[in-house]
C-alpha cells in the first residue's frame, strides 16, 4: 500500500486522540473513585446502583423510625414500672385496711393516700415523650385524662401509635389506656377499683383484693408485651444494620473502582499515550527532503 504523509498524519492524530480519550476516562475514574458517571457507562449497573441507593435512603428512614419507636417503648416501659410500683403501695395499704384493726382516722388517712396515689397514676397515664402524650394512641397532642377525677379516656376511637420499621412492617410503640387500665365501663377498671377502694376504706368495708391483683397483673402483662415488642424492634434494627452493610458493599461493587486495578490501568494508558506521542514525533519528522542535498 502506498503511504502518504497525510495518511501518517491522520492516523497518528486518530490514534493519539483515541489513546488520550481512554486515558482521560480512566483518569476521571481514578480521580472520582467512581466507575459509573453516565447511564451509558453501564446501563444495567446504573439502574442497579440507583435501586440500591434508593433502598439505602429508605433504610436510613427505617433506622430513624426504629430509633423513634425505641424511645417510645422505653418510655412506655418505664412508666408502666412506675405504675406497678405505685399500685404495689396501694396493695400494701389495701391489705392494711382489710385488717379491720385501724381507727376511722387511720382509715381516712389511708383513703387519702390512695386518692393521692390515684392522682399519681393519672399523671403517669398522662406521661409525655418529646412533648407528645404517650398513652393517647395517635392523638398525641391531647392528654388521655385531662381532668382530675375524670378517668374516662378523652377519645373513644383510640388507635395505638405505630412506626413503620421495614417495607410493610410496622410496630406498635405505645399501649392504649384501655389495655393498661381496662375498659372504663368495666368494674375491674383500675381507676374504678381505686375509687371503690378509697370509698370502701372510708366506709370501713372490706376491699376486694382480687380486683386489685387483676389490675396489677394487667399492668405487668402489658409491660411484658411492651418488652417483647422491644426485643422484636431490636431484632429488626440489627437486621436493618446488617442489610445496610450488605447493600453498601453491593453498591460499592457496582459503582466504585478497584483502586489497585484502576491505577495499574491508568499507568498503562499513560504509557500507551506517551508511546503514541513518541512514535508520532518520530514518524512525522523525516522525509526524503531531509536527505536530499
Amino acid at each position: 500500500m502506498r503511504v502518504t504523509q497525510q495518511m501518517l498524519n491522520q492516523n497518528s492524530i486518530r490514534n493519539m486522540s483515541q489513546n488520550l480519550s481512554r486515558f482521560e476516562k480512566i483518569n476521571n475514574q481514578v480521580a472520582s473513585g467512581k466507575l459509573l458517571h453516565r447511564p451509558s457507562d453501564d446501563p444495567n449497573g446504573v439502574s442497579k446502583a440507583m435501586n440500591l441507593k434508593s433502598t439505602l435512603a429508605t433504610n436510613a428512614q427505617f433506622e430513624r423510625n426504629t430509633g423513634e419507636a425505641k424511645l417510645w417503648m422505653d418510655e412506655t416501659g418505664q412508666n408502666i414500672d412506675s405504675m406497678v410500683n405505685a399500685m404495689q403501695r396501694v396493695r400494701e395499704i389495701a391489705v392494711q385496711g382489710n385488717n379491720g384493726t385501724y381507727s376511722e382516722l387511720d382509715q381516712t388517712a389511708m383513703a387519702a393516700e390512695i386518692e393521692e396515689l390515684t392522682e399519681h397514676m393519672r399523671q403517669l397515664a398522662n406521661a409525655k415523650v418529646n412533648g407528645k402524650s404517650l398513652f393517647n394512641g395517635q392523638k398525641t397532642g391531647e392528654l388521655p385524662f385531662p381532668e382530675k377525677g375524670d378517668m374516662t379516656p378523652s377519645s373513644a376511637d383510640l388507635v395505638a401509635k405505630t412506626f413503620t420499621i421495614g417495607e410493610g412492617i410496622s410496630i406498635q410503640s405505645s399501649v392504649l389506656p384501655e389495655q393498661l387500665f381496662g375498659a372504663s365501663a368495666d368494674a375491674a377498671n383500675l381507676f374504678n377499683t381505686l375509687e371503690s377502694m378509697s370509698a370502701n376504706l372510708k366506709a370501713g368495708t372490706a376491699i376486694d383484693l382480687e380486683k386489685m391483683d387483676a389490675g396489677i397483673d394487667r399492668l405487668l402483662t402489658v409491660g411484658a408485651e411492651n418488652g417483647a415488642r422491644q426485643n422484636r424492634l431490636e431484632a429488626v434494627e440489627n437486621r436493618l444494620l446488617a442489610s445496610n452493610l450488605e447493600i453498601k458493599s453491593m453498591l460499592s461493587r457496582v459503582e466504585d473502582i478497584d483502586y489497585a486495578e484502576a491505577v495499574i490501568k491508568l499507568k498503562s494508558e499513560e504509557s500507551i499515550y506517551q508511546a503514541s506521542l513518541a512514535a508520532t514525533s518520530k514518524i512525522i519528522q523525516p522525509s526524503l527532503m531531509d536527505f536530499l542535498r
Binding site: 500500500m1 504523509q5 447511564p39 451509558s40 434508593s54 435512603a57 398525641t140 526524503l288 536530499l292
Partner: protein, 422 residues
C-alpha cells in the same frame, strides 16, 4: 532526410515535458495538505514518428520526434469515492443520534445525588417523618418542600428537553440550508467544468470535496456524465437534486416529513428529535405516576392533595405544589405506587444508557470503517512527499539531459554553419 533542426525540436519537446512535470510536482507538493486534493500526473507519450529512408530494403525507418504531453490528470478512484460517501452518510446519521443521546444523558443526570431519583426518595422519607409525627407542622412543611424539590428537578429536566428539541429542529433547518448550498455550488462547478472541457482537475477536486460534504448530510447517488458534469440524486428514490446546471432544492418540510428518504445527518437529526420526544413523554409519565401516587388534585378528588395538576391532560410544566394542603388528609391513591414510578424511572435511565452505549459503539465502528476507506483512498490519491521529491530529482535529470541535447545540437550546428565555410 532528417531536418537539420530536428534535434533542437526534439530537445525542446523534452524540455517542455520536463518543465510541465516539474510544475505538476510543484503543484502536488504545494497542495500536500489541501483538503480534497488528489495528486496530479503528467501523461506523456512519444510523439508521432517520421518515416525516413534507411536504405535497408523496401521498409522505411521510423525516427522518433520526442515526446508530447497528452494530458495532466488527477489520480482518483471513483469506487473508493463512493465507499467514502456511503460511510460518511452512515456516520453522519449516527453522529447526530449519538450527540443527542449524550445530551439526554446529561439532562437525566443519573447516577447522582441530585437527580430525580434522590428527589423521589426525599419525598418518600418526608412522608415517613410526617407519619411519625402527624401533628408536627415542620414535618408537614418538609413534605411540601420535598414535593417542590421534586417538581423543580422534574421541570428543569423538562425544560432542558424542550430546548434540546427546539435546537434539533433549528439544526435540521440549518442542515437543509447547508445541503442546498452544496447543491448550488456543485451545479456551478458543473457549469465551469463543462465549459473548461474535461480536464479541469482542481475544479473536479473541489466538486468531489463538496459531494463528500453533502454526503454527510444526506445519502446521494453520483453519476458522471460524458461531458464531465455530475448528476446527483437521492439514493433512496432517485429524486434528482442536481442535473448539469439545474438544481432542485430540498425543503425543510420534506426533511421532517420524510426524513428516512434523505438519510445521513438529516435522518439522524429527525431520529434524534423522535428520541428526545420519546424520553420526554416517558419522563412525563413517570412524573405523573409519581405525583398521582403522592396525591394530586383531580385524581383523589380531594382538595387536600399535595400536588396540583390535571391528571387527564397532564402537563409537567404546569405541575404545582398545593401549599394549602393538609398532607394528613391525603387518601391513598389508586394506580401506580411511588415505588412503581421509581422503578419506571430506573428503566428509563437504563434504556437511555443502553441506547447511548450502542450509538457510541456505532459511531466508533463507522468512523473506523470510514477511516479505513479514507486510508485506502489516500493511498491512491494522496500526495507522498517522498515520492514527489524522488520524482523531482527524476524530472530534473530528464530536463537537464534534454537541455544537454539542445546544447549539443547547437554545437553541431555551430560546426556546420560557422566552421565549415572557413
Amino acid at each position: 532526410m532528417v531536418s537539420t533542426f530536428h534535434g533542437l525540436e526534439l530537445g525542446k519537446r523534452g524540455l517542455s515535458v520536463g518543465q510541465a512535470s516539474i510544475a505538476t510536482t510543484g503543484q502536488n507538493i504545494a497542495n500536500v495538505n489541501t483538503k480534497g486534493y488528489s495528486r496530479q500526473q503528467v501523461n506523456s507519450s512519444s510523439s508521432p514518428s517520421l518515416d525516413i529512408w534507411t536504405g535497408q530494403g523496401a521498409h522505411t525507418g521510423q525516427l522518433g520526434t520526442g515526446v508530447t504531453i497528452d494530458s495532466i490528470t488527477r489520480v482518483r478512484d471513483r469506487f473508493l469515492d463512493q465507499q467514502v460517501r456511503d460511510h460518511s452518510e452512515t456516520l453522519g446519521q449516527w453522529q447526530a443520534k449519538q450527540t443527542t443521546l449524550d445530551r439526554l444523558e446529561t439532562i437525566v443526570n443519573e447516577p447522582s445525588d441530585s437527580g430525580l431519583s434522590s428527589a423521589m426518595d426525599g419525598l418518600k422519607n418526608a412522608w415517613q417523618d410526617l407519619a411519625n409525627e402527624p401533628d408536627s407542622l415542620s414535618a408537614q412543611a418538609v413534605v411540601k418542600e420535598r414535593a417542590q424539590g421534586f417538581i423543580d428537578v422534574a421541570q428543569s429536566m423538562n425544560k432542558s428537553l424542550d430546548s434540546l428539541k427546539s435546537e434539533l429542529t433549528q439544526q435540521s433547518t440549518e442542515t437543509v440550508a447547508e445541503a442546498n448550498g452544496y447543491l448550488k455550488q456543485i451545479a456551478e462547478l458543473n457549469k465551469s467544468i463543462v465549459r473548461d472541457g474535461s480536464q479541469s482537475n482542481d475544479l473536479k477536486d473541489k466538486r468531489d470535496a463538496l459531494v463528500e460534504d453533502l454526503s454527510k448530510l444526506m445519502s446521494v447517488k453520483v453519476e458522471e456524465k460524458a461531458n464531465g458534469s455530475y448528476s446527483i440524486s437521492l439514493a433512496s428514490n432517485n429524486q434528482a437534486l442536481v442535473t448539469g446546471e439545474a438544481v432542485s432544492e430540498i425543503t425543510a418540510e420534506d426533511a421532517t416529513n420524510t426524513p428516512q428518504k434523505f438519510g445521513g445527518k438529516l435522518a439522524g437529526l429527525d431520529e434524534s428529535l423522535n428520541t428526545a420526544t420519546k424520553y420526554q413523554e416517558n419522563l412525563t409519565t413517570v412524573v405523573r405516576d409519581f405525583v398521582q401516587a403522592n396525591g394530586m388534585s383531580g385524581t383523589s378528588g380531594k382538595d387536600q392533595a399535595l400536588f396540583i395538576g390535571d391528571a387527564a391532560n397532564f402537563k409537567l410544566s404546569e405541575l404545582k405544589v398545593n401549599y394549602e394542603a393538609d398532607p394528613l388528609e391525603q387518601q391513598a391513591a389508586t394506580g401506580k405506587t411511588s415505588a412503581d414510578a421509581q422503578s419506571d424511572f430506573r428503566k428509563l435511565v437504563s434504556q437511555l444508557g443502553a441506547e447511548s452505549q450502542s450509538a457510541t459503539n456505532s459511531v466508533a465502528n463507522h468512523s473506523a470503517a470510514l477511516q479505513a476507506t479514507e486510508n485506502r483512498r489516500q493511498s491512491v490519491t494522496g500526495v507522498s512527499l517522498d515520492e514527489e521529491m524522488a520524482n523531482l530529482i527524476k524530472y530534473q535529470h530528464s530536463y537537464n539531459a534534454a537541455a544537454r541535447l539542445v546544447s549539443m545540437t547547437d554545437q553541431m550546428l555551430d560546426t556546420i554553419i560557422n566552421r565549415m565555410g572557413s
